[in-house]
Symmetry: C2
Subunit: 657 residues, 2 copies
């Protein structure tokens, strides 16, 4: 710790005083004498206080209960009610104006949600009616529990695809439809349970490990997988592979060329062109959002009419067929809590749970930030989780906030979660009265709807931006893309998370060390590489370490620092400059240290001492100071070994080296 | 950063000049005007240059070829030879003085190595003779290739135990001894291959992930497991469990009470007391190192004599029996490169390879640092790897640098790797002529030798130090300890590595943010919590972020920063201070950023803008600047948004807010 503390804590002493008047000469510059400041330890806390503080930061970083502070008992009750049921925040002040907006947007998303529901259920190898059921109960639950005003709730493509893939790898949806359905509800239940627990136990940060880069690659890969799967419907193929990877699917498509049906192909591609055109129009002119929103329902109605009118000529085209009328039947008795397939249900639940949660939260946050309100991630997770638990008991499969639906909802002017209630009401009417109308709806139009919905998930521009900014992010993106395409959906995801974690570990394992120099005329020490005018200080080697000092890098940093010393000595010898005397480590960016890191400092100090070099630490942060102190390593740096700034260290040591 | 930056870049301008004359008033202090410095981008490099530099830092941080720079061709040859065969460094200047030291130390370690070799082979469920073979070939190879002067090479307890456990879980060493032996050689081969590849491909940092904390727990757990296994020999039990965990072993011990043999117990505990006493003496007086070094051989000789003399009375005591005379037979034909057990061989090889490498490198480094020479980790790995590959072809199982042997070697005054050659010669003599003498050696004394050797691995003090300094390190230590004791050796290790990695991820996922204030009379901004005299700057909120900005924390940091803002605004309102205008983020410790981090900065800037708050970045490091630049995020901070120091930012912005 610094040698002279002339100043007491009160700040009325003069800047330059007494025997420090003589300036210290360093290289070619003259500095005013520097007062040295003591590096302080953080205030003492017990282990329990530290643990408590750390746990608070880990689990309650947003201080969720701050609203309750200093409130009356009654007010606390009201706030608590509003906290648990966000519907209470707006239902009392609900007005006709708001209702009109919500009604329009609710009906608009309903026109999108009904064909999407039927299509996505097919993606998960489930009966189409399950998709409609899933657009009825979950939106109702979400409108009570959810805190986003714009989230449009229902089945989504990615989670449907993943559930379909994972379950059908073990259970055939054709040979054992009942077991398959049971497992789908079970997986949905566990997905909900997992999501709700993440929210309740405030472990939401787990989904942060699916980085955006990973998701860009994953979504693009999944979109291609989904689109290729639709070739079955689009080409009218009957015998199709049950595999998902690109190679078996493409070979199946070309091996079954005999089964290609021209009527189906013609109809499919016409509607696909129609849907994609509608999509393009809405993309170009966001005001015309309703064009793409209404296109799926229009396609369904048109195609159903066509098939109905020419029903004798187009018997080859596969149709949805009879759908049961009526509301969601209870499915609580179909949940599957024992037996050989339980593990599959849990695994599928967790994977689809994470994926759908990621989508739901991301969508919620996107639209919240557009209107500048906050979404409480953990609360949203609980809401989505409870919605899925309730869904699994009422014949729904996994649902979440869908991007396409929420975008339509937002553009149509939704003001509150009431638009979800309107959506549910529209689905209710459909379920009760309109089911027979779907009898002639051709499956090929559903395939076209799915393709036009997922095509937007392939985001070249975002991938290109990743490449431009961060090569490792791009690598994670590529890994998840090719992993999904060529191995499997789960493996692609696992590889991508692995690459993302590896990126963090690599940064810690091989941290940067920077040679610092003085910016002439200042007390600043910055990278010699970046600031060309920065100058070395004779006899000193100043290194900035840009990483925590951990077991994973303590050996590396020792070696790397010794190499800096060796290279500096060689340079000095070549240039015949004055001998190296002192190594200064700027620890400002060393944000943490562990026992291996402390050992590394001990050993480095020993090695340097044997070459008659002095080691000086500058500005260790709070945690690091605390650990250096409790490990007694600080004793090594008692005398002229610890400073608050590099400038103070050099000013104080220069006269004696 | 010193208090006054009156000086411009060329140092002859006047101190205070022009329109900067009026001092800017902040809180209660008067600062001289500050010149602002531009934050610079690092020099431009192409993607390939960056990649090349990064790969260099990852794989060649120590610049291993620096010795070859600017040397003549012949000299390069000599240096190359010395690099590959470190024996060339000392063999030409070898003297009688050195030889005398090495002879004494070589003979001393031989007296330790012979009983240890026999004992450790039994630990790996291998015939005792394999342990002696393994003390002959590997030391010879190491003396040619190894760069440590003090490493005593041979079988070690931990690797022997792990190999024994992993192999005997699948193959019974009693029912299928031939297959077991083949697999042991195969595992040794793959261990060597793995070690050598780590060295050649410079991936040595992989072993850094076995942190010291983990190893302390692991070794203590393994030592207890090993000692408990020895109860079989020590109590003379014949029918013993083949499991390793503490629970089945203890129940086996007490269920087989009928088999306890008092003669064996008496002899075993007597020698155990003798060995432990010898160990204590050497610990207390390091000069008497030879007491504990010679104790095992003394015990073997004494016990053999006793059993021989009273051979009619003590027939119950189990003896080693006949050992084949002669040199290591070739075993290259016993390696196993196909068939059902290949995977087991590879897995065992990798796990034991990592463990033995960790021990070997750590021991080598420890003794190198005592005598202040450097060990090249990657070169050592190659040497140990080649030694094991050669060993696997000549009837040796896995070997590495052993701590006990190296300590004896060092204390006995070894000067070069020649002591390993002396050791090999002594083992050669034993193998050729002395094998019949071991006929009457009782197994119980081997058990006592093993216990006394591993007991030192239980290091309470180190564990207590971990607890005192770093609770998470202590947790990793506990996990590996209990994992080894109650689950399995591999699982214990896996859990501990998992905890260590989790520690890194946790630090990145939930980084510290610190509220900074001005230390009166200086331009320094430090934590308000640590420096009680530091003062807030009215209208400014200054936050230090202590972590890279990654996908894993970008969401957290946004929320945390907004909470700081909210709390600051509440405080200001309560105290009726001047309104908050500007948020300054000190990015000095943000050592890296990725695309999610950049998005977070965008969003944070947007959110703050909507509350009419200005966001300012201070001192982004090189990589971060580069990415902010290439992502165009820097444009957000063009005008009064980016500064080199907090002081400059405040001085420059204060007049306008």
């Amino acid at each position: 710790m610094g040698p002279n503390f002339k100043r007491s804590l009160d700040s009325n002493s003069t800047d330059i005083s007494g025997d420090h008047q003589t300036p210290v000469t360093i290289s070619t510059h003259t500095f005013p004498p520097l007062e040295t400041h003591k590096v302080r330890l953080p205030p003492k806390r017990t282990t329990f206080q530290k643990l408590g503080h750390r746990l608070c930061e880990i689990f309650f970083p947003d201080d969720p209960f701050y609203r309750f502070k200093n409130q009356s008992f009654l007010r606390k009750w009201v706030l608590g009610l509003q906290y648990i049921f966000p519907i209470c925040q707006w239902v009392l002040s609900y007005s006709f104006e708001l209702f009109r907006s919500d009604l329009i947007s609710g009906l608009t998303i309903a026109s999108l949600a009904i064909p999407q529901g039927i299509s996505y259920a097919k993606l998960a190898n489930l009966p189409p009616i399950i998709g409609l059921y899933s657009s009825f109960v979950p939106p109702l639950i979400y409108s009570v529990l959810g805190s986003s005003r714009h989230l449009g709730v229902g089945p989504v493509s990615i989670a449907s695809l993943v559930m379909g893939t994972m379950l059908s790898e073990m259970i055939s949806p054709i040979n054992e439809p009942d077991l398959y359905l049971k497992l789908a509800f079970t997986a949905t239940f566990f997905a909900g349970l997992f999501q709700a627990s993440l929210g309740l136990f405030r472990l939401g940060f787990i989904i942060d490990f699916l980085s955006k880069a990973t998701l860009i690659g994953f979504m693009a890969g999944a979109a291609i997988i989904v689109s290729l799967q639709q070739l079955k419907g689009l080409l009218g193929i009957v015998h199709f592979t049950s595999k998902m990877q690109i190679v078996p699917v493409m070979s199946s498509v070309f091996n079954q060329r005999k089964e290609w049906a021209w009527q189906t192909i013609l109809m499919g591609f016409s509607f696909l062109v129609f849907l994609l055109t509608a999509r393009q129009i809405s993309l170009k002119k966001p005001k015309l959002f309703w064009v793409s929103a209404a296109a799926p329902l229009t396609s369904v109605i048109l195609s159903t009419l066509l098939v109905f009118l020419f029903r004798s000529q187009v018997q080859d085209i596969s149709k949805i067929g009879r759908l049961p009328k009526g509301l969601n039947p209870l499915s609580i008795n179909m949940l599957y809590f024992h037996g050989p397939h339980l593990a599959l249900g849990i695994k599928t639940g967790i994977v689809t749970g994470i994926l759908s949660l990621t989508e739901g939260i991301a969508v919620g946050r996107t639209f919240a930030s557009l209107q500048n309100y906050q979404i409480d991630g953990n609360k949203e997770m609980t809401a989505i989780g409870l919605m899925n638990i309730a869904g699994s008991c009422s014949s729904c499969y996994i649902t979440t906030g869908s991007f396409s639906r929420s975008a339509v909802n937002y553009n149509a002017g939704a003001k509150t979660a009431f638009s979800n209630i309107v959506l549910a009401a529209a689905v209710l009417v459909t379920l009760l009265f309109l089911m027979p109308l779907f009898y002639y709806t051709p499956n090929v139009v559903l395939a076209a709807i799915i393709i036009s919905a997922v095509i937007g998930l392939v985001d070249y521009n975002a991938a290109f931006k990743l490449w431009k900014i961060d090569k490792l992010d791009f690598l994670a993106c590529l890994c998840s893309f090719f992993g999904v395409l060529f191995i499997s959906v789960q493996m692609g995801l696992a590889i991508a998370v692995g690459v993302s974690v590896f990126k963090i570990l690599l940064h810690v394992t091989r941290p940067n060390t920077v040679l610092l120099g003085n910016i002439p005329g200042t007390q600043l020490y910055q990278s010699l590489n970046r600031y060309e005018n920065a100058l070395r200080v004779p006899s000193f080697l100043i290194l900035g370490i840009e990483s925590p000092l951990y077991f994973a890098n303590s050996m590396y940093l020792q070696e790397r620092i010794l190499r800096w010393v060796r290279e500096e000595e060689e340079r000095i010898e070549a240039n015949k400059e004055s001998m190296l005397k002192c190594i200064i480590l700027d620890m400002t960016a060393v944000t943490a240290i562990d026992t291996s890191g402390i050992d590394a400092i001990y050993e480095l100090n020993n090695t340097l001492k044997q070459s008659s070099l002095k080691l000086v630490l500058v500005n260790p942060v709070g945690d690091v100071m605390e650990k250096l102190h409790s490990s007694k390593a600080l004793d090594l740096f008692r005398l002229k070994g610890l400073y608050l700034t590099v400038a103070e260290a050099i000013a104080d040591i220069s006269p004696i080296v």
